[in-house]
């Protein structure tokens, strides 16, 4: 399961960043707080497979599909 699969208003915890991800992107995500064990809550899925909106700690981020499906999570 990845961040992209979390339905609206549901939460999951981060397992790992997919190794296939571009290294630069992985660094950016880590700096934004995407680390193992962190809780992610999906605030809103947008129409036509647009970027998903999630809460991580005290920040709200939006990630497009190609990033969101490279962050592995496990359901709570």
């Amino acid at each position: 399961m990845t961040v992209w699969d979390i339905p609206s208003k549901q939460s999951a915890s981060i397992k790992s960043l997919c190794t296939a991800m571009h290294a630069d992107v992985a660094i950016r995500l880590q700096e934004m707080g995407f680390e193992e064990g962190q809780l992610i809550t999906c605030i809103k899925r947008t129409a036509f497979n647009g970027p998903t909106v999630i809460q991580l700690g005290d920040c709200i981020y939006s990630l497009e599909q190609s990033v969101a499906n490279h962050v592995n999570v496990s359901a709570l």
Binding site: V25, T46, G50, G57
Partner: protein
């Protein structure tokens, strides 16, 4: 001069704090990534010391250079461009001239801010620098009755902490006093040893946030509720379209009464001056060149100000980030990013800051495409041209009880044409850059800021300033060109335009404009407006008021109508102005941002040719 560096997470209010500490007016907006270049100002530190003998208080003043940095999430970089910015920051942190590092945190997003703050503190310690933390936006905490224990936090962090609000000025004077002392003798305030876990700042930040910060869910509750509505598939889309339509409609309808008033005032003034002067050369000059040329351009100042007001309101509200999100998917079809929305929107005021704003687009390729297409947005310099021609060509009728005006709707169509052209050109550029080594692709990741009410005072200043800047930028050149055009048009036959030097020159270039159905007067005006678009209005104003010496002076639209500008030619002219890149400053900005002059001049040429072809086609179809 010793330096103070102002750093922090994007959108934490650094620039507003910078403005309060220096008295400058750097751009502030509720969107991460507003500041894209280093900006410096002067912070005046005061020290009060009592003379032990006389008891007299001495005020010592020392100036520091305060530098506002672009916001960063971390001191590690993720892209080549950011690497340069971070290298600069690291170099500045180790510079011996740097006395203090002022690290700004967003008090409503403390956990994330703290991770960066701890990194900054660690590096500062290595370079033996002093760090001061500001926890900004405490006004928002007070709304939730949350008090920050800065003394205790400062003990935990081992560096001074100030709770401030750059917006409502809470704590700013304490910060000024404190920072003065610290900046003058930084060695006394070096980072003290703490028991913060140096291995994982994320964990440390979490623990500190738990103890001091307001719980995230409390702050984010309202924001998330609004987002669930504004990002909703149906309502969100409708809201977006309504906001955009309202934006363009209001530029026209709200401004109309103000424009009429300005026009009347200029006409009245012209009448008075002309009455005082009596017949003759000077009178002709004043009425035609000054009131006709400059006056017909001043009429548009209210429109520029309203445009700035609405863009400013959107920027302050936090909606821009949502708009970027909503637009991401549609824009990616054209090889753009959701982030391209921001430069595109601000390109409707002026292309130059918009091209700079494109720097925050993560993907170099999408950034390249965005920068090259921003000049197709209908910037405020095109506004006078549009407004003039619409007034001539489109009847002033309203529907739906005055909410929709035909002329206003035509404005919308013109703006839309610019955007559509940009999207088509983007797709072409996207195809052309496919697989380019130099221009990589990066995904869309964006932090959504809190919704906020507008900050009225700077907004008001910005609106007034946009009017002043518009006049300052184009005024002098319009004046000089009007003067030259008037002189060439007045002589040798004392005001007989059709038999003047200007007309002789004009006949030469007329063949170029015949395919558009335009005569030499328009040809001259178009050519001259390659210096600045507004010149079209000024130059036509001068020429037409020379022809109709007795008519009302600033009523250029009426003059054009009486002269018989046909619908086909008028539309052709509009088509030309939608596309052509007639702005020297934009070409220069493109050149410096893209690093290669061949792209900038290529765009200039390509848009010129495209504009000409499109306008020829429009004329052929309509006539």
């Amino acid at each position: 001069m010793q330096k103070i560096l102002l750093v922090g997470k994007p959108n934490s209010g650094k620039s507003l704090l910078f403005n309060q500490l220096t008295g400058l007016r750097q751009k502030v907006a509720n969107f991460p990534g507003v500041t894209v270049e280093l900006k410096s100002g002067v912070f005046k530190a005061y020290r009060h010391t009592a003379n032990p003998q006389s008891g007299q208080v001495l005020d010592a003043k020392q100036q520091f250079e305060l530098i506002d940095y672009p916001g960063t999430y971390s001191l590690k970089s993720w892209s080549k461009d950011e690497a340069i910015a971070i290298e600069q920051l690291l170099a500045a942190m180790s510079d011996e001239k740097t006395s203090v590092i002022l690290c700004n945190l967003d008090a409503t997003r403390m956990e994330r801010s703290l991770v960066f703050a701890l990194q900054v503190q660690q590096i500062s310690k290595q370079h033996n620098k002093t760090v001061v933390f500001t926890l900004n936006m405490v006004d928002e905490l007070l709304r939730f009755n949350h008090n920050l224990d800065t003394i205790k936090l400062s003990e935990k962090l081992g560096s001074p902490v100030y709770a401030v609000s750059a917006k409502t000025l809470i704590g700013i004077s304490d910060l000024q006093k404190g920072l003065s002392k610290i900046a003058i003798s930084p060695q006394e305030y070096r980072v003290k040893p703490t028991d913060i876990n140096q291995q994982s700042f994320a964990t440390a930040a979490k623990i500190l946030a738990k103890e001091f910060a307001i719980p995230a869910d409390v702050v984010l509750k309202r924001q998330n509720t609004i987002d669930r509505f504004l990002l909703n598939s149906v309502f969100g889309g409708i809201a977006f379209l309504l906001i955009m339509f309202f934006l363009f409609q209001s530029i026209f309808t709200w401004a109309a009464p103000l424009m009429d008033a300005t026009e009347d005032a200029i006409g009245f003034l012209a009448g008075v001056v002309s009455g005082l002067l009596g017949e003759g050369l000077v009178n002709d000059f004043m009425t035609d060149a000054v009131f006709g040329g400059l006056g017909s351009f001043l009429v548009f100042v209210p429109q520029i100000m309203i445009l700035t007001l609405i863009i400013g309101l959107l920027e302050d509200s936090g909606y821009l980030a949502r708009a970027a999100l909503i637009c991401h998917k549609p824009l990616s079809f054209f090889g753009l990013s959701g982030r391209s929305f921001i430069p595109y929107l601000s390109g409707h005021a002026c292309a130059i800051p918009a091209i700079l704003a494109a720097r925050t687009i993560e993907s170099p390729r999408k950034r390249f495409v965005t920068m090259l297409t921003v000049p197709l947005m209908s910037c405020s310099a095109r506004l006078p041209v549009y407004a003039l021609l619409i007034a001539v060509l489109v009847p002033d009728v309203s529907y739906l009880g005055g909410w929709v005006n035909l002329q206003g709707a035509m404005f919308f169509v013109l703006y839309l044409s610019g955007i559509l052209t940009a999207l088509i050109v983007s797709s072409v550029l996207n195809k052309m850059t496919e697989g380019s080594e130099e221009l990589q692709d990066m995904p869309f990741i964006l932090e959504l800021p809190s919704y906020r009410l507008p900050h009225w005072q700077p907004l008001f200043y910005r609106v007034v300033n946009s009017g002043i800047q518009f006049v300052k930028r184009a005024g002098p050149i319009i004046f000089v060109v009007s003067l030259i055009i008037w002189t060439l048009g007045y002589f040798p036959n004392n005001g007989d335009l059709q038999n003047s030097y200007l007309s002789a020159i004009g006949q030469w270039i007329e063949p170029v404009f015949t395919p558009l159905g335009l005569d030499w007067r328009y040809g001259v005006a178009i050519l001259v407006s390659f210096l600045a678009r507004e010149l079209l209005v000024g130059v036509l104003g001068t020429m037409f008021s020379m022809q109709n010496a007795d008519d009302n002076i600033a009523g250029l639209a009426a003059n054009l109508e009486a002269d018989g500008l046909s619908l086909a030619s008028g539309v052709a002219l509009l088509g030309f102005y939608v596309i052509a890149l007639q702005c020297v400053a934009t070409v220069a900005t493109l050149k410096s941002e893209l690093g290669k002059s061949r792209y900038a001049w290529g765009a200039f040429l390509a848009y010129g040719v495209l504009a000409y072809l499109v306008s020829m086609l429009l004329y052929m179809v309509l006539s």
